[in-house]
């Protein structure tokens, strides 16, 4: 049990670190495409770590399933959203624009 708890805490902390990193990236990166990278980090890696950490603490399989679903849906949405954004930028030739 202790191991699971520790692992869960570690995963959540890791997730928080990635969230922080992606927030810094969102603020510091020069253009939209780079910022998208930071956002994707948050959605994929950070959220993934946090959700995995949270899953380890659940006793109910149902809740585990819900958490997993949340992650999957977020992954899908973020990927699609990132794609659409990038497509728009490419189409409008705005790659070097500094702001959204």
């Amino acid at each position: 049990m202790i191991v699971l708890e520790l692992l869960s805490a570690f995963l959540i902390c890791l997730g928080i670190f990635f969230f922080f990193a992606s927030a810094v990236g969102l603020l510091r990166f020069p253009d939209t495409l780079c910022r998208m990278h930071a956002l994707a980090k948050a959605d994929n890696l950070a959220l993934g770590c946090v959700i995995m950490g949270a899953m380890l603490r659940q006793t109910d399989l149902y809740a585990v399933g819900k958490l997993l679903l949340i992650w999957v849906v977020t992954l899908l949405s973020s990927a699609t959203g990132g794609f659409l954004l990038a497509q728009r930028i490419r189409r409008k030739n705005l790659a070097l624009e500094r702001d959204i």
Binding site: V73, T80, I100
Partner: protein, 323 residues
């Protein structure tokens, strides 16, 4: 200082800061993005005061749908155009000062004399068995104060109609065909939405959920469909859309009036209450979803009203020449 208090303080502080940042944006596009973030934080604060229903609604409608609507509207007016006239400094400072003073008085008053509400929590619990639902929020929304909810549904309907009046003959640019990735996303997400929406309706009887959240989700599906390869809702007959828009309100109103025979407007007999509530929730979910979708389409300029509609001035009788 407990961690909870620290968190709340940070949350409250960031809310204020975000609000100020939102107000200080130079272009509408940036302001809308900030507003959406603000909405998410607001949802978080609802969660902190143990109101998951409100948090859900805030996230879905306050942040999600509103943001989508605003972004859709910006499609017509331009994201990057700066706000027309920045407020001059001599006005900004007194306004800020005034707001600060008002906020200060408000918080002083609240801090000084806040007591746990002597409200109706007890009464609400006491009569729960007669309401036909297990979720006190649903009981308040659809039973004790169903009249308010009836009118709220009316507000949504009317808002959708207002968007209809706004959408003139000038239509937005047609939607570009989406790429394969989006199509793939749609293919996966559509069934998920269809699964989650009924779940939300159904869960409202026991736990946070219900027509407003489910309707917001449904409108998300609607918006996706509109953006997708076959925006079939746009090809629906106007009449069908109108029926869909009014469905919730009509059913709610009819149910309310039907109860006259039991002696009370909106007074469901306790044994049938559950069924009535479920029926109304389903109808309202559909209508809310449709009206939010209509608003989305309207804001984006995709609602093609009859081009023959002329504005009021042109519809007037021609002026007769003066001798």
């Amino acid at each position: 200082m407990s961690p909870g208090l620290v968190f709340d303080t940070v949350l409250a502080f960031s809310l204020v800061v975000l609000a100020v940042i939102t107000l200080r944006q130079r272009t509408p596009g940036e302001a809308v993005v900030q507003l959406m973030i603000f909405g998410l934080l607001l949802a978080l604060s609802w969660l902190r005061v143990d109101a998951p229903d409100l948090a859900l609604t805030e996230a879905a409608i306050g942040s999600g749908v509103t943001g989508a609507l605003l972004l859709a509207a910006l499609r017509r007016t331009g994201f990057g155009k700066p706000f027309p006239a920045p407020v001059s400094a001599w006005l900004r400072y007194p306004v800020t000062l005034g707001c600060a003073v008002l906020g200060l008085i408000l918080s002083l008053v609240v801090m000084q004399s806040w007591h746990h509400p002597a409200g109706l929590t007890e009464l609400t619990r006491q009569y729960m068995p007669e309401t036909g639902t297990e979720n006190p929020v649903t009981a308040v929304i659809l039973n004790y104060r169903a009249y308010d909810t009836l009118l709220e549904i009316g507000v949504l309907l009317v808002a959708a109609l207002s968007v209809y009046t706004l959408s003139g003959p000038a239509s937005g640019t047609p939607v570009k065909p989406p790429g394969p990735i989006f199509r793939f996303y749609m293919r996966i997400m559509t069934p998920v939405f269809w699964l989650v929406v009924p779940y939300m309706v159904w869960v409202g009887g026991r736990a946070p959920g219900g027509a407003f959240q489910a309707g917001a989700l449904l409108s998300g599906l609607g918006a996706l469909t509109l953006l997708g390869p076959s925006p079939w809702p746009m090809r629906l007959r106007r009449r069908v859309v109108r029926w869909g828009l009014t469905l919730g309100f009509t059913l709610f109103l009819a149910a309310a009036a039907w109860m006259w025979q039991h002696g009370n407007f909106l007074g469901y007999p306790p044994e049938q209450a559950k069924n009535w509530i479920l029926l109304i929730e389903i109808a309202c979910t559909l209508s809310i979803g449709i009206s939010l979708t209509v608003m989305f389409a309207g804001c984006a300029g995709w609602l093609h009203e009859d081009p023959k509609i002329a504005p009021e001035s042109a519809a007037q009788a021609p002026k007769r020449r003066h001798p």
